[in-house]
Amino acid sequence: MPRKTAAFFCDTTVLYFKLHGHSLHKAAVRNAAAAGRLVTSNFVRGEYIRGYVVGLIDLFFAIKEENSVPDGISVFSAEMGNRPRKLANAFQSTVRWLCDHEDWKNVERTLRRLGDLIRSLLFDLDDEFPTRSRDPLACELGILTFPRSTYDSDHIFDFYEEFMAVLERPTCRQCEFRDEQQKELNAKGVDLHSKQQRSKYSQYEGYVKQAEWVDKAVRSHLQHPSCWYCERLGDTIIALSAPSGMTILTGDKKSFPALADILGKPVEVIPPVQELRPQYGSGYRRRRKKGRKRGDRRKEQ
């Protein structure tokens, strides 16, 4: 059971756990919600959009363009190697899910199912995480949405166009955020990314990678925002923008514990399913045993 807190600031993994996760992960998020309010930010929402939602839009258009579901899937899967491993797992499961439907090879039906799924992802996300903290970056991807009206495939086209427009020329507060954070960290004497820190927290592979990117970002002379940086520095930006008084809630045990320790922010890590299994599994076995005994007793009577 997570420790009591006023609120949990959820990172992207928690969004995945709550919407798509194993029942044990969903239960873990429910337990956290019982201990404190779940809050997220538009930046985190933007990460979900950039990673999963737009990936499914790619699949939608691949099927449409190929005019064949198997061919569309195969074109989409060929690029899977370029995606982060975790997202590739998500897409493989989604493709399998899509193929579990009746007549999945029918292009029109599959496109309609996929289209309905894509927009319902954001509707459900907003229903499940209605509370957002202020996003100091003012991420424009995080505010994209679908109209809450009758389905029209044009909505997918429009969403994709808006997404690409932001990606090509973002007008967020990335540069200001970088300057503000640098000043604040310097003033507090916090060392976020030096080589010494990287070797101190070397067991946190995720953090080490983040620190390398932070180093690059700090030395960058880019005068305008770029989504490229946010794509790589997501964990760091989330940790930096976690409001004070909130505990960071994450499923990422390879970078957040180190980041939170450096920044002096509380963190709660939801363990992988494998680690959650034994504690729930034993309870399940106990219930089964009791049930069997009751059944035996009934038989005896």
Binding site: Y16, E47, S93, W97, E102, R112, G206, D252, K254
Partner: protein
């Protein structure tokens, strides 16, 4: 989408196009000049004298075979109304059939026969796409159908409870009762299914224990 019309009382009234097509509004002239105005009564100044005393035409549009100005829109509206009526009727038939099939699944719950009943339901849900997709008017009910399909594809049929199946039945039954199935009906059904723990989207783990660190 709405069309602004002048009501007899002189105030502007917005009529949703969908309702216009269903023939619930005053007669409308959708003529070329874009004047979405109430159709003037036959034999009025349109075919008689103009405001400046000039005779425009003494032959009615219908008589000279000009279907474009007067008759065509009426026919189009009548046609659209008939089409909408037909699609509503078709949707109701589909919904009734789907509701009876899920009823069968509920009856056979817990027995091997449930698998067969589920397969028949899935086939019927899939077939209903063609009819429902042909009319934009029924698009929200088609979204409910895809929602139920998504649920059935995500659910282990042996672990589904009767209560959960009854929720699916209620979602499908929306199409039987309502004259218009709207986005609100769909949204309500989706929330209700989710509230009863029925999955409507793919489930996955982000990675193995080793990989399960950060989705960013």
């Amino acid at each position: 989408m709405a069309i602004i019309l002048d009501s007899p009382s002189g105030t502007a009234v917005a009529y949703p196009l969908r309702r216009l097509c269903r023939g619930t509004t005053p007669d409308v002239d959708l003529s070329e000049d874009g004047g979405l105005l109430p159709k003037p009564p036959r034999g009025s100044s349109q075919h008689g004298e103009g405001g400046n005393g000039e005779t425009r035409s003494i032959v009615s549009d219908e008589d000279r075979g000009d279907m474009k100005v007067d008759c065509s829109p009426t026919l189009a509206l009548a046609g659209a109304s008939a089409l909408a009526g037909a699609s509503t009727e078709a949707r109701r038939e589909i919904a009734t059939r789907l509701a009876s099939l899920i009823g069968r699944v509920i009856e056979s719950h817990g027995r091997v026969r449930m698998a067969a009943d589920l397969q028949v339901l899935k086939r019927e849900l899939s077939r209903s796409h063609d009819v429902l997709a042909s009319s934009r008017h029924e698009s929200d009910y088609l979204s409910i159908v895809t929602l139920v399909e998504a649920n059935l594809a995500s659910m282990d049929w042996r672990s589904a409870t009767k209560q959960q199946l009854k929720q699916v039945e209620q979602a499908l039954a929306i199409g039987c009762a309502q004259s218009d199935v709207t986005f609100d009906h769909y949204s309500h059904a989706a929330r209700r299914l989710r509230g009863f723990g029925l999955p409507t989207m793919p489930s996955f783990e982000l990675g193995t224990e080793e990989e399960n660190s950060g989705a960013s």
